[in-house]
């Protein structure tokens, strides 16, 4: 198992390099000057701008620039934000935990809803429960996240007044009350993201379980007298989870995209909203760093999925 993890790590590194190359090529190809914003900023005299250009090596050949940028990124020197006036890595580190909390909880919620519903629907295909679950799944992933977010805000915050709709990281409370406030403000964003994912996962879980449930070893297990619950949990679900884990891993890029939108609606101070504010403020170092962080998170989650994959299906770790 350890060697398998090592192998997956080694494969993950070239993808990270490839992604960083794509990002950098995009920036290099872009017309216009990344320091163009500074030209209009009267606080920065032309000599400083010239010095910055030389320091960042804007006029060097592209391969040299890529190496410099990569080395700087790996050292943790992510540059200096134009608009926020602090180092980019501090800015990002302040906000990553919030995003990870929201995204992680939403994925857990999605799986917690999708697995039971999908398995139960597959055990009784084409029954009333299955039809209703299918319809809800369709409705769920046809509703764009920003629309559900707005609807939930409308219903729960504006009309009913039950939940706060502005997310605050500094809640002035202590102990139990702090947790309760945190939970209350987190319900809506996590629910919006989570239910959207749950809709697509449900259909996938259902079809994966349906593929597994007709196989011979399930019939053998039943005929050996093992109770239905144990058959389902120990044999069916564990094997059906394999394609589901692949799907969850493949969906991570999309989930982070959904997190960006959710952070905008609920004003959550995470790296998604940092990206949007940076784009609107033309703050290039922050944009590059945040996109790089997103790419890294995707690679990390893919790695995690590979590890879980190896644990679920022992045959894989021997390959």
């Amino acid at each position: 198992m350890g060697k398998y993890i090592l192998r997956r790590l080694i494969i993950a590194l070239p993808s990270l390099l490839g992604i960083s190359l794509v990002l950098f090529v995009l920036l290099a190809l872009a017309p216009g000057d990344p320091f163009g914003e500074l030209a209009t900023n009267s606080n920065i005299p032309p000599e400083v701008r010239e010095a910055l250009r030389v320091k960042f090596g804007i006029d060097d050949p592209i391969f040299v620039r890529y190496l410099h940028w990569l080395v700087a990124m790996l050292h943790g020197d992510w540059g200096f934000s134009f608009s926020s006036r602090i180092d980019v890595d501090k800015l990002i580190l302040q906000r990553v935990p919030t995003t990870l909390f929201v995204v992680g909880s939403s994925q857990l919620l999605a799986l917690a809803v999708a697995l039971p519903v999908g398995v139960y629907a597959a055990m009784r295909p084409y029954s009333i429960f299955d039809q209703i679950a299918n319809t809800f799944a369709f409705v769920g992933f046809s509703l764009p996240t920003f629309f559900t977010g707005l609807l939930l805000i409308l219903i729960f915050s504006v009309n009913l007044g039950w939940l706060p709709f502005v997310y605050r990281v500094d809640i002035p409370a202590t102990g139990w009350h702090w947790y309760w406030e945190y939970f209350k403000q987190g319900i809506m964003p996590v629910a919006v993201l989570g239910l959207f994912q749950a809709a697509s996962y449900t259909r996938y879980v259902r079809s994966a379980v349906l593929d597994v449930i007709r196989l011979d070893y399930v019939t053998t297990a039943r005929s050996k007298g093992i109770g239905e619950g144990k058959v389902v949990i120990k044999h069916v679900v564990r094997n059906a989870l394999i394609p589901v884990v692949t799907l969850v891993a493949l969906q991570m890029p999309a989930v982070f995209g959904g997190a960006i939108v959710t952070e905008q609606i609920f004003r959550i101070p995470g790296i998604g909203s940092l990206l949007i504010t940076a784009i609107l403020a033309n703050d290039t170092p922050v944009i590059m760093a945040v996109t790089f962080v997103f790419a890294c998170l995707v690679v990390v989650f893919n790695l995690l999925a590979d590890i879980i994959y190896g644990w679920l299906d022992p045959r894989i770790s021997y390959r």
């Binding site: 490839g18 509703l143 707005l150 609807l151 905008q264 784009i279 944009i287």
Partner: protein, 275 residues
Amino acid sequence: MAVASVVILAMLASAVLLGSLAWRVPINEIDFTARLSSPSWQHPFGTDDLGQDLLARMLYGGRISLAVGFAAMIVAIIAGTLIGAISGISRGSVDAVLMWITDLFLALPQLPLLLLVIYLFRDFLKAWLGPEGGVFILIVLVIGAFRWMPVARLVRAQFLSLREKEFVEAARALGATTPRLVLRHILPNSLGPVIVAGTIDVAAAIIAESTLSFLGLGFPPDIPTWGRLLFDAKDYLDIAPHWALFAGAAIFLTVLAINFIGDGLRDALDPRKVM
């Protein structure tokens, strides 16, 4: 369900395409006395904060949203089929390289890169093609560029399995060159999953364009795409909910109809139907 969806989608499409002939209120007629009014006979969907009629704006925006959706799908399908076909018909290093590129693109986070590309190239394209045309081309190309990978994989899988069939061998024995084999024999048989992927792509492209407009980074602000309508509506939720509800419901119904159609197509074309 799928047939009902085709009907709904046809109704939406015809409403959007022909509605502006029937409902002749201009989309940017500003009327401050009628700000944020609820649906009435004069303004069936209500008005926004400048008093512009929402029904007219939604009909106009619908055309753009649907056009972006279909154009992006065409880009994705053409790119995906091309790469999948080349990868599937050639063995060895070309296949490996193309698949590695596909995996790389699959790992890229879609929305952040979409935002990055729009940020970097928006001004350049605006200067070149005018504000609306430039953004349209940019959005279509970028959304299509993120959706070609599943199509490429599907086409490649189909090619790999069809390549070993007897009719291909027979055609080759008769002297068919490889391009002719691909174009006349293998490609037409592999298009089933591609059609299904195509319908899903339209839905995803519409959602992607709406998301971009919702974040304020899509089309210029005076073009009322459905996402943009939601972006403008979100600040007035408590006093004018009808604004957000109509725009969001339109996106929802369109995407739902397309998803049902795609599912129906998949059921019809997939021989491994679950019994």
